[in-house]
Assembly symmetry: C2
Homo-oligomer: 190 residues x 2
DNA sequence: TACATATTTGAGCGTACACTACATTTCTCT
DNA sequence: AGAGAAATGTAGTGTACGCTCAAATATGTA
């Protein structure tokens, strides 16, 4: 089902409106009417392009996450410090999308099956990224040990992210550095 | 406006029902109908005792957060391993309180200022507990360094708690052990 | 230009929900 | 017992929301 050019433009307008609303009024304020008003689009047009309201919201969050990904192509050259840095930037950056992401992941992921599935899948991808980086950092690790460390590190980063969301003065970066093995602390990749 | 005895009993029934629903069906499942059905009470009775649904939910949340607060009379002899162990047990134990607490702290605490304040305060108390334990573990640490490590460790434990909420098969204990300094890994306090 | 396909509109459907009105019953105190 | 306050159940009301549908219009292609 090919799209006409105007359809793709409308899609962008809808995503922009959703992004803006998420930032300005939060996840609860994003109603379909708010989106379609903001995008100057009828409800029917919205559903011609998105299967549900949630789909648009997730697309926005997904793009926000990708925007800070140090290695979008998965080339496998990013270091642990790079990944940690990217996560910290995502959480402490100016965009409020990080808050939305955590809220959706935990606040709704626990009860909404569709959301839980997406959260788990993206989490899985991130764990793999961190696992690979751990193996590059310390080739003597078994794959299992590397994954365990990746899981722990990611969970810790999530917890630190929560801390900074609850208390904006929390110095997430300083704390996150403690999660790195001492050999990797000094600098990010050259 | 004094209350009759039956009114106070009804109030307790409503709070119990709300508490139970929070743990069984989650925050989103707590509708007024669910509460009044569970409490075997009419909607009119509910609004005779509470100004709004939120008021009842908030009362339960407040009690749940208080229940999570570490014992303020703690003798101050816990080791880091003890504290980690207690946290893991709390998270993976049979009581649904941990679930409620985390879900509300993240799901609502990010947007509800009143809840955020309570979460931050109980978190603060726990950080102090962990800081003391770090100092006992390694007396060469400066108080600042100890607190930084305490914050990181607690955030990591919280993140691991989130992991186990999203995936019940997640082995929180194994991962939590990685957070301890190597000298403390082998055993809990004698 | 003719045709197929994509896009748009917006009134309105179904539903879920918090909350209310009010007649009735129960409670407590004197 | 009697009176007034409190508690109760029912049957709603109002509203907000996600989403649908059919008809009308725009777009791309041969």
């Amino acid at each position: 089902m090919g799209r006409y050019r105007v359809g793709l433009e409308t899609r962008e307008r809808i995503l922009s409106a959703t992004r803006r609303l998420l930032s300005e009024v939060g996840v609860d304020g994003v109603t379909l009417k708010a989106i379609t008003d903001q995008a100057r689009v009828g409800a029917g047009s919205f559903y011609n392009l998105f299967a549900s309201k949630e789909e648009a919201v997730f697309e926005v969050v997904r793009e926000a996450i990708e925007a800070v990904d140090p290695d979008p192509d998965g080339a496998g050259t990013d270091t642990l410090a790079d990944l940690v840095d990217a996560f910290v930037t995502f959480m402490t950056g100016s965009s409020p999308i990080a808050r939305i992401y955590l809220q959706l992941a935990v606040g709704r992921g626990l009860t909404d099956r569709a959301i839980a599935t997406r959260v788990v899948r993206s989490h899985r991808t991130r764990v793999d990224r961190f696992t690979d980086a751990w193996l590059r950092e310390d080739p003597t690790l078994t794959p299992e040990a590397a994954e365990r460390r990746a899981q722990t590190m990611l969970a810790a980063l999530t917890g630190l992210g929560l801390s900074v969301l609850l208390d904006e003065t929390f110095d997430m970066r300083a704390h996150a550095l403690e999660l790195l093995p001492s050999s990797a602390v000094s600098s990010t990749s050259p």
